[in-house]
Every structure is written in structure tokens, then in C-alpha cells.
């Protein structure tokens, strides 16, 4: 199927492929490397955990986001106007997302009284795996089901989520105040939340 020839198939041979093992990236040399989604099989673009914060007055508008949650209900971010909204893009298959999940759960509980609402955006997931993840980590906040990642498209042009996981913080008036690209930590996300809720 791939732009290869009988020459490559037979010349490389099953022996080479058996030796390469399950590492899909190595079978058939150049062809598979070109055809294998991601040469290392990780299949997502991860971030380094860096965060950025925007002072009041220089914050771009957050786009209108709405969709269906994992439990089937309709949800729109505009219904949270007046609260600080933390939008976290995650997937149950994504290791850094799993690693940051306990941190997010803690921060969600910590800041709920200060008017902060966490909303997850679950991408590239099947309902069964997503449900199992939410139960496993005890996620109490709702997550929008977005298998085709269209919500991330909505943020294009403002402060796009540039990796998985990404976390965006939207202030009470609907402007994007901060972003963490990659795994969020108490330090990175906590600082942003502290500043936003304090109004600075």
C-alpha cells in the first residue's frame, strides 16, 4: 500500500521486521517512518509545563464554547460568566494528563469556594475510557466530550491550547488570563488561580 516496492518488501524481509519487534517505526525502513503516525508512536504533542499569565487589560476574549458533557448534558461556558473558569484539555490515554489529574482535583476543590469552576475538555477518547478515568480519579467537575477536538479550534487566534494537556484560565469577565502548556502543577496553575481570583 505504501509507496514501496516488492524490492523493499522482499529485500528487507520478515527477518528484519521480526528483529525490529513491535516498534512500528522501524519496520521497512523509510517507508514506515514516513507512514507511521509519529515516529515514536506517542501520538500527541506534549508541552513542557510552561505557563503564561496576562495582566488585566491585556487579556484576549475567550471564545464562546459549548458542547455536550460526558454525561450527555448540554453545557456552555457562558453560563459560568462571573466565575473564573479553568478549561483543561485532557484524554484518558495521555500520560501527563493522568499525572496532573490529582493536582487538578485538589485545586478544583480548593478554589471552588472562591468562585472558580473547572471544566474539562476530553479529546480523542471513547465514552467508556473517559468514564473510567473520571471515576478513577474522582473528577467532580464536568467535562465536555470533544472527540474531534473542535473546541481547541475555537481558541485559535486567541490563546490556543498548544499541547496535550493544556489548561486555560478565563477570568470572571470572559477573558483569557493564563495558560499552562503541558502538565499543570500546584505551582504553575495555583499561582495563576491565586492571581486571577485576587483580581491582579
Amino acid at each position: 500500500m505504501l509507496p514501496s516496492s516488492i524490492a523493499v518488501r522482499r529485500a528487507v524481509g520478515l527477518a528484519a521486521m521480526a528483529a525490529a519487534g513491535v516498534l512500528g517505526a522501524t519496520a521497512c525502513g523509510g517507508q514506515i517512518a514516513a507512514s507511521t503516525p509519529a515516529s515514536n508512536g506517542v501520538n500527541f504533542v506534549s508541552g513542557n509545563g510552561s505557563s503564561s499569565y496576562f495582566k488585566p487589560g491585556s487579556r484576549p476574549d475567550a471564545p464562546a464554547v459549548s458542547g455536550t458533557t460526558l454525561s450527555g448534558a448540554r453545557l456552555s461556558l457562558s453560563s459560568y460568566r462571573g466565575k473564573v473558569v479553568v478549561v483543561n484539555f485532557w484524554g484518558s490515554w495521555c500520560a501527563p494528563c493522568r499525572s496532573e489529574a490529582p493536582t487538578l482535583a485538589v485545586l478544583a476543590g480548593q478554589y471552588r469556594s472562591k468562585g472558580v469552576q473547572f471544566v474539562g475538555v476530553d479529546i480523542r477518547d471513547s465514552p467508556a475510557s473517559a468514564e473510567a478515568f473520571v471515576q478513577n480519579f474522582g473528577i467532580s467537575y464536568p467535562s465536555l466530550n470533544d472527540p474531534a477536538d473542535e473546541i481547541a479550534l475555537a481558541f485559535r487566534g486567541t490563546v490556543p491550547p498548544a499541547a496535550i494537556p493544556s489548561t486555560l484560565v478565563i477570568d470572571r469577565s470572559g477573558h483569557i488570563a493564563g495558560r499552562v502548556i503541558g502538565q499543570a502543577s500546584e505551582a504553575s496553575l495555583g499561582t495563576i488561580l491565586a492571581d486571577v481570583t485576587a483580581g491582579t
Binding site: 500500500m1 505504501l2 509507496p3 514501496s4 516488492i6 523493499v8 518488501r9 521486521m17 513491535v22 516498534l23 512500528g24 517505526a25 522501524t26 519496520a27 525502513g29 523509510g30 514506515i32 517512518a33 514516513a34 507512514s35 507511521t36 503516525p37 509519529a38 515516529s39 508512536g41 506517542v42 501520538n43 500527541f44 504533542v45 484539555f89 484518558s92 490515554w93 495521555c94 500520560a95 501527563p96 493522568r98 499525572s99 496532573e100 480523542r124 471513547s126 465514552p127 467508556a128 475510557s129 473510567a132 478515568f133 471515576q135 478513577n136 472527540p147 474531534a148 477536538d149 473542535e150 481547541a152 479550534l153 475555537a154 485559535r156 490556543p160 491550547p161 498548544a162 499541547a163 496535550i164
Partner: protein, 580 residues
Amino acid sequence: MTDVRTSEAGHGTSEAGHGTAGEPATPPARPRARSFGVLGWARWIWRQLTSMRIALVLLFLLALGSVPGSLLPQQGIDPAAVQQYYTAHPSLAPFLNALGLFNVFAAPWFAAIYLLLFTSLAGCVLPRALRLIRSARALPPRAPRHLSRLPNSTRYETSMTAGEAATVAAAFLRRRRFRLNQGDGWLSAEKGYRREVGNLLFHIALIGVLVSISVGGLFGYKADRLIVEGSSFADTVTDLDAFHPGHLVSASDLAPFTLTLNKFSASYIPSGPDRDQPDNFVANVSYTAQPGGAARTYNLEVNHPLNVDATKVYLIGHGYAPVFRVTDGRGKVVYNQATPFLPADQSTYLSEGVVKAPDAHPQELGFAGVFLPTAVDVNGQLESAFPAPYEPAVSMIPYSGNLGLNSGAAQSVYQLNTSGMHRIATPVQVLTPGQSMKLPGGAGTLTFTGYKQWISLQVTYDPGQAPALISGVVALAGLVLSFLIRRRRIFVRGYDAGSGRAVVEVAGLARSDVGGGFDAEFAELAAGLRAAHGGTDPAAPSEPGAGTRPAGDGADRAGPAAVAAPMSDNERSVSSEGTE
């Protein structure tokens, strides 16, 4: 590029004819009184760099430098092969890596070669272009005195006076689009200036190609995505498997399209010498160029990429994604989706993959195994007989323990890290669609519910692509132009021969005669001129025969040099093809 000196007389030539002053010419006997200053060195280096000789050397180095880039595995093309090379040659590999030989085309030394080459090119071409523009209206030089010394010449008598003959000749040549210069008793005509235009166009277009490639590299990006039948993806960084942006690309620059794979169909040759070879594959996709835009469909195939807003989507590969449902120890369904498996054998599409259920309780579950499109039992060994899914089956090995996902370290989705897991002891089972494998001890169940197909896509945006193509085509046009057009001169002299007659001498010179047709062209022109003048043979030839050199006139060997000298006075630049 060095000007070709018309130095058949054998004088030593100096490189690069920019016409700049340089050092004052000193007779060889006197020793040099002063050495180069900084400016002198700079000028000398520049002159060397833009010389033809250095251009030749740099061209050779460019070719030579590309050789290891084609024979050694390259990081940018096949990183896995580089890894294999390291394991195969553990002592040699680091040394080669230090020389940059595993990424030749991005290596600094390779960049140095082509940057120097293009500097040399620009440093020669731009002044020549300026000179061409300035000399665009320059007239041909005056006709040499002894036209019979030129390689092509003829003479005849005419009943016109010399002045009339000159006028007639001028009209004749002007009709043939020669540029004319007239004087007392002589006429010079030149044609073929477009040759230099073609030459310069070619070289400037090469610079254009380099600039286009740089623009593409800076502002373009390449991304990969594997997508299973029935699912969609959006062109954002969060939804791509791999993203390779240029240095000046940010996440907002991606075209905001969404694409859904409706159906993928592949057919394979069932019999004959080309059995198992793919016959055809088509991916039927729907896409919207913007969120909320109109949905369109397209049949994506190899050689038929999808073009959305200058971003191209290519079909690169395909495979099978068996659908599994995993129930954990509590009886909950913790996994239920199509899982892409990678083909391990290109001819039979026996594919390998893993299932990971990290949210299973009480223990995390993982499965690793194979999918066979057409499963057959060969002496107790399970094999796939054909790449089409006639008899799909899977065989998976169960593991439980710690998948390692919660630690945050990214893993390949095609590999199971069994270091924190132990294999669940259960006999190997082959499952057909609908069948389940029950794990012992109530640990869970794996059900093979069916299969889908996946395609792998490459999304590419390259703003330098169109400019590169245009530059390439312009280069080709300039090349052909410079090869086809001859730069040639025709000279006419008339002498009054008394009694109302005049002797007309016609001569011609081609600066470069690639096609070899100048002799024929001169013959035709001379015949035409002769007819226009009503020429007749000279009555008493004072020189033996026309068209040949005077017998025994060895001194005429210097002729071409002397004759050609006037040419070099007027313009220093000569086409790089040189004389034949």
C-alpha cells in the same frame, strides 16, 4: 564567474572582471612595495569568492557533501534507522555524528557550502545584471579593419557606391532585428543579447529557489495524524500526532479545518505474480474548511492529496484497527474502542498492537498481540494469508499491573511497557469477531467485537512551494534561452573601387556557437546581402580565394585575438559558455 578572456595570444589572465581598480599593475621586476591592508584582503577574498574557479570548487564540494547524506541514515528522514546504525556500529557512529553526518542537510558545514556558493553566485550575477541593464542600449563596436581575417568572411563587387551599399546593408540587417552602429565606410550589427538575459535569469532564479526553500522552512509546518474510520480530527496542535513547525510558526497559524474519515477501501491483487500487491486504495473523507463551514467530501488517494486553504493533506499509510471491549474485575466496561495496530508485514498485513486499560480495577490491564486479516493455521503457527480482511482474527496476551501511565511519562501507543506488569497465565486464544477471552480469577474479559481501518495522514503547509516552482521554471527557461541564442556580430565595409563600383566586404563573428549553426546563418545572411547589393565576383582577386586566409600568413594566427579585442573593450562580460 570569470570573464572569458580572449587571450589566445597567451597573456596571463587575472580572475574576475569587475573592472575595479585593485592593486596597481607593476612590472614583474619591481618587488611589491606594500602589502594588503584589511580592505585589500577583503577585496581579494571577495574577488576570489566570486571567481569561476571557486564557484567550481564550491559546486564540487556541494555534490561531495551530499554523498554521505544519501548513503548514511539521516535523522530527519528515518530516525529509527539512525538508531539501528548506532547499535550496529557503536564506535564509528558517535564519530560520524560529531561530523554531522547523520543530519547532513541541516548541518552547519553543508549550509556553509551552499551559502558561500550563493554568495559567490550573487556577487557575480548582480554586477553582471547591472552591467547588462546599463549596456542595454550600447552599440556594437566599430568594424575591424581587416574583415578578411575573421572566421567567416566574403567579399564581392557591386555597382552601388560605398555609401549606398552601406545604406542598403543597414536596412537589410535592421529588418533582421540586428542592432546597428554605423561609421565612415563601415557598419557593425549585433544580435543575440537575450543570451545574457537568459544566463542571468537562470542564475537569479537559482537564488529564488533557495529563498523559497528558506521561506517554506521558516513559515511552513508538517504534521502527522492517524485517524480511524468514523472519527474526525481538527487541524490544531492538540489534535495532531506529531507537529514539526518551522521556526516562525505558532499554533494559531494552522488552517482551522476539520476532517472526518467516512470510509476507507483497499483492494489487493488476489493472484498471479503480483499477488498481495495493493491494487488501489481510496479514503472517502468529509471536511469543513472552517468551524461551521460547509461540509465537502473528497476521495483521498495516493497522488491525489486534499488541498484545504493552501494546506495539503496526503494519504500516507493505512492499516487495521480491531475494536476491543475490556471489562475489568468489577464488571465495568473500561475500554471500548477501535485500536490502531501497525502492519508488521507489508504483504500480508499481519498487524501488531496493544490495548491499555489504565482505569481498570482492581488492577490495571494491558493486552499485546496481533491482528490477522486472513488468519490461517500453518503447522500450528498462526499466519495471515492475504492482506484483505477475509478471515479476521486476533490473538492477545493479557497483562496486569502498573502500565506506567500515571507517572506522566509519555509512552508509545503501540507498545506495552511490561516492566511493571506481569503476564496473566492463560492459554493463548485466537478470537474471531464476537468472541471473548475471559481472564482467570475474574480479572476481566476482553472481547473482540470487530475491526475498522485507519489511515495515516500528513498535513503539510509550505508557503515556499509555489515560489520554488516558479523559480525552477524560470531557471529552466533562462537555461534554454542561454543555450539557444547565439551572440553574433556582422561587419560590413565598403571601399570605392573606382568607376562607380564599390567593393563590399562582409564578415561575421559568433561569440559562442553552441548550436553550430552560425556558419549556415552567416552564409544565408551574406547571400542575402550580396543579392541586395547586386554583388558580383571581384574582377581581379588580389587575395587567393575568399573565405580562406591568405596563404602562408601565419601572422594571422593572432587574428582572432586582435579582432576580438574591440569586443572586450566595450563589454567585459561574456557569456559563461565561452567560445567554442
